[in-house]
């Protein structure tokens, strides 16, 4: 039974590693300036953990195989525990240093660096169970939202007050996130009811909506595409079906879309 276990561990380790290496199931293509950095860090982590995974499982299998053979004899581990302590500390420690160094730079680009000055500002509101995206309109200003004026039956999703707030009159509200390609975009995210999250795998972007907070996040899409936005924060019975679309258009198509929206 010991040898069977050793064989099973070996097969499981090698098959699992092989499937990861073959990338049968893998990340979708990225369409963002940060994709290369994020994917690079993920691949570095995959290599490091993959080597440790296979090495540890094969060591376990080898030791069990040897320990269940007829000639097995009690032997102490060469050098005792301290070489293992040193090995684990040095190998894992160095890798941690490397990951923290690289990872902090990537994280900083996503969340610590401010959006570029020319970023297109879009206000995003999440609610059970839909996303709404608000563009400031020709005046370049957003109207002030009033929660008590939210009236979804009359499509006033943000609680705007166009009668008294001139900035709100030309705000454009869309059920899709439409952006021009290669244009820095700043999203300001807020929730009207409970927690939600905005997840766009092709942008490697995920950020929670937290009630009571306005959270900025920015990105630049690098290719024309249409992809899904889904909610990843459990928000209620319709959570599984809370989605929208991201449409990355050429500058000309985007301008046409915006003009059409403004004309409605």
């Amino acid at each position: 039974m010991g040898k069977l276990f050793a064989a099973a561990v070996t097969v499981i380790a090698l098959v699992s590693a092989g499937i990861f290496l073959s990338r049968v199931w893998w990340l979708p293509p990225d369409f963002t300036t940060l994709g290369k950095d994020i994917d690079g860090q993920l691949v570095e982590t995959m290599i490091f953990t993959g080597v440790l995974f296979v090495a540890a499982q094969l060591a376990l299998a080898t030791f069990v195989w040897q320990s269940t053979s007829r000639t097995a004899a009690i032997r102490v581990f060469p050098g005792g525990p301290m070489p293992l302590v040193a090995t684990a500390s040095v190998i894992v420690g160095l890798e941690i240093l490397s990951l923290v160094f690289v990872g902090t730079k990537v994280w900083s680009k996503i969340f610590l660096a401010p959006a570029e000055a020319n970023a297109l500002h879009i206000d995003v509101q999440a609610g059970q169970f839909a996303f709404y995206f608000r563009y400031p309109g020709p005046d370049g200003k957003f109207g002030v939202p009033h929660p008590d004026k939210i009236d979804e039956g009359n499509s006033n999703f943000f609680g705007l007050d166009p009668q008294n707030d001139t900035a709100a009159r030309d705000d454009i509200v869309s059920a899709s996130l439409v952006v021009p390609v290669d244009q820095p975009v700043l999203l300001t995210m807020h929730s009207k009811d409970v927690g939600h999250s905005l997840y766009i795998p092709q942008l490697r972007l995920q950020q929670d909506f937290v009630p009571g907070l306005v959270i900025p996040v920015h990105f630049t899409a690098t290719g024309v595409t249409k992809t899904e936005i889904v909610c990843t924060q459990l928000c209620g019975l319709g959570h599984y079906n809370m989605k929208a679309y991201l449409e990355v258009l050429s500058r000309q198509d985007y301008d046409k879309w915006l003009a059409a929206q403004a004309g409605q």
Binding site: A8, V24, L42, M82, L84
Partner: protein, 601 residues
């Protein structure tokens, strides 16, 4: 003051048993003060809970594989929530919430810590019972009441809550307007967890007092078995963690029923109604919950460390490598466990600077975990392995702990978590490192200590089949979840109408088949438990040739554990591979001159 000092010093070396022998059925089997009975009660509750939690997971997995088909029989069992066997999105989330809550609290906390700890710890330190037997009895019955309150949520009109085992506010705080189950069901959930916290605090205090104050003569801290060390460390973790979760639950309950706004900010519009709250913080709940929640991972797994480190030397027939390093690493993990909770919240909107601060200790905690794993490998190296079922589950524990631990590297880095957070990668990770590893510890402990608990041996053939099928089943079930996560497949979805996730249905069907296979394999365990309890061959006092104190008394032990004898300890628990009159080991109670020679340098 002098009188008090005098009275303490005048106590006999071993005080008489702290409570009378049970003289009625109720005192013997129901409201027992005996730590051994209480340990078995906890394990029984854990068994009931794990069967319930696993049954719920089968319904979920079947629905995920065949979202358009009714689940067989469920329409009969739950006609209110699943009429005709149809699983609605809300019922799926309710099942998921109850599955997670039951498994984390009532299985992974209850069985390895409170169950085995209660039965074994006093025996291993040479005590006649726990320090506070009545608190001990209370802790179990409080936990039982908590379980009953939680399960009661199935029987209220809107059913159980759907906010997940993490019960994020304000979904969990604003009441029934946020969704089905968020009325009375969610309130029952909050009350249940608060009660559970009280039970765990009572238990933790008891474990700490017993370990520090009731050790037999000669049982220095350095001579304590590794499982006792692990339960002791877990008690300290639990004492702090549950002390935070308990008031957090009280605050959440006040938000729900008393109109307070601890976790609810102003201006929320839920179901078209402006909420009458202001000034609260939704992030505060996350901070309080995860301040408990991450140490909870170690409450579940550190007892497993101890169980594995106790069994491995006995089955390898050689000393555990680096025992002091082992304890030091567990203490380091316990300390670090309170500095890492924010890694669950990288994307929560807290300061992005915090992410780096929480990421570094999260990565550093892998160093003591890696050292412990290497110590296990170094112990297995060059051994003469006795391949019994307990040994197999120890080896399996090492394998799944490595697998689950390594996937944590991805999630501990905020910039990768940006992609993987909220996906099945996380589900695969925590099921391996917390769920399966802890369950393997429970299984190893069961096969190892069953003879001591019931005086009968378990069936080894059934045990080995159970292990083989379980080991294959867990890899087939949980490894593919990592692949789903890499594809961006989102967790906590009742089905996958999204275009890009729809393609993962085939992999979900494979996982469902594997999960049902894994569940069926557990029937072997249940049959073995029942058969061995009734018909298993009589167990000798020390069937495994092990060194620690519980094996020096009868199987099962008498009411006062050592039949009036007060053990005196002369050795550590690590005396394997040593030639002696017993063979190749020395028991902790053997006289100091027991060693003939050392087989291991």
């Amino acid at each position: 003051m002098d009188n008090v000092s005098a009275s303490i010093t005048e106590l006999p070396p071993a005080a008489p048993h702290q409570h009378a022998a049970p003289d009625s059925f109720i005192r013997n089997y129901v409201f027992s003060l005996d730590h051994k009975v209480i340990g078995k009660q906890y394990l029984g509750l854990g068994l009931l809970a794990v069967c319930t939690g696993m049954f719920l997971s089968w319904i979920m997995r079947y629905h995920l594989a065949f979202p358009d088909k009714p689940v067989p029989l469920i329409g009969l069992i739950a006609p209110t929530f699943a009429a005709g066997g149809v699983i609605t999105p809300e019922f799926y989330l309710q099942l998921m919430t109850m599955h997670g809550t039951i498994m984390v609290f009532f299985v992974l906390t209850t069985a390895p810590f409170a169950g085995f700890g209660n039965f074994v710890l006093p025996l291993q330190v040479g005590a006649e019972d726990m320090a506070f037997p009545r608190f001990n009895m209370m802790s179990f019955w409080v936990t039982f009441v908590a379980f009953a309150v939680l399960v009661a949520a199935f029987f209220v009109p809107d059913g159980p809550p759907l906010s997940g085992w993490t019960a994020y506010a304000p979904l969990s705080a604003v009441g029934k307007s946020s969704g089905p189950g968020e009325g009375l069901g969610q309130s029952l959930w909050v009350v249940s967890i608060a009660i559970f916290c009280i039970g765990q605090l009572l238990g933790s205090l008891n474990f700490i007092a017993t370990t520090l104050d009731l050790r037999a003569k000669g049982m220095t801290l350095a001579r304590m078995p590794y499982s006792t060390w692990a339960w002791f460390i877990t008690s300290i973790i639990g004492l702090i963690a549950f002390s935070v979760l308990l008031p957090a639950c009280v605050l959440l309950l006040l938000d729900r029923v008393a109109g307070t706004s601890f976790f609810i900010p102003a201006g929320l519009v839920v179901s078209d109604a402006l909420q009458p709250h202001s000034g609260g913080s939704a992030l505060l709940w996350q901070h309080l919950f995860w301040f408990f929640g991450h140490p909870e991972v170690y409450i579940a797994i550190v007892p497993g460390f101890g169980i594995i480190s106790t069994i491995l030397p006995a089955v390898c027939r050689k000393p555990h490598l680096g025992p002091r390093v082992l304890i030091a690493c567990q203490l380091a993990i316990a300390g670090l466990s309170y500095m890492v909770w924010g890694h669950h919240m990288f994307l929560s909107g807290m300061s992005p600077m915090s992410a780096t601060l929480f990421s570094v200790p999260t990565l550093i905690i892998t160093i003591p975990a890696a050292i412990i794993t290497l110590l296990w490998l170094g112990t297995i190296y060059g051994s003469k392995l006795r391949v019994n079922t307990a040994a197999l589950f120890c080896l399996g524990f090492v394998s799944v702990f490595v697998t689950g631990g390594l996937s944590g590297f991805f999630l501990s880095q905020p910039s990768i978590d940006t992609y993987l957070h909220g996906t099945y990668f996380v589900v695969g990770h925590f099921h391996f490192v917390m769920g399966v590893a802890a369950m393997f510890g429970i299984f190893a402990g069961t096969y190892f200590w069953f003879p001591k608990m019931f005086g009968r041996m378990m069936n080894e053939t059934l045990g080995k089949w159970h292990f083989a099928l379980t080991f294959l089943g867990v890899y087939a079930t949980f490894m593919p979840m990592h692949w789903l996560g890499l594809e961006g497949n989102v967790r906590r979805y009742s089905s996958f109408p999204s275009d890009y996730m729809h393609g993962s249905l085939a992999l979900h069907r494979f996982i469902t088949a594997a999960a049902l296979f894994l569940g069926a394999a557990q029937l072997i365990f249940l049959v073995n438990l029942l058969w061995s309890r009734l018909r298993g061959p009589a167990a000798p006092d020390n069937p495994w040739d092990a060194t620690s104190l519980e094996w020096s008394t009868t199987s099962p032990p008498p009411f006062d554990n050592f039949a009036g004898v007060h053990p005196v300890i002369s050795h550590g628990p690590n005396e394997y591979g040593v030639a002696s009159a017993r063979g190749d080991y020395i028991m902790q109670t053997d006289p100091p001159s027991a060693a003939a020679s050392s087989a291991v340098a």
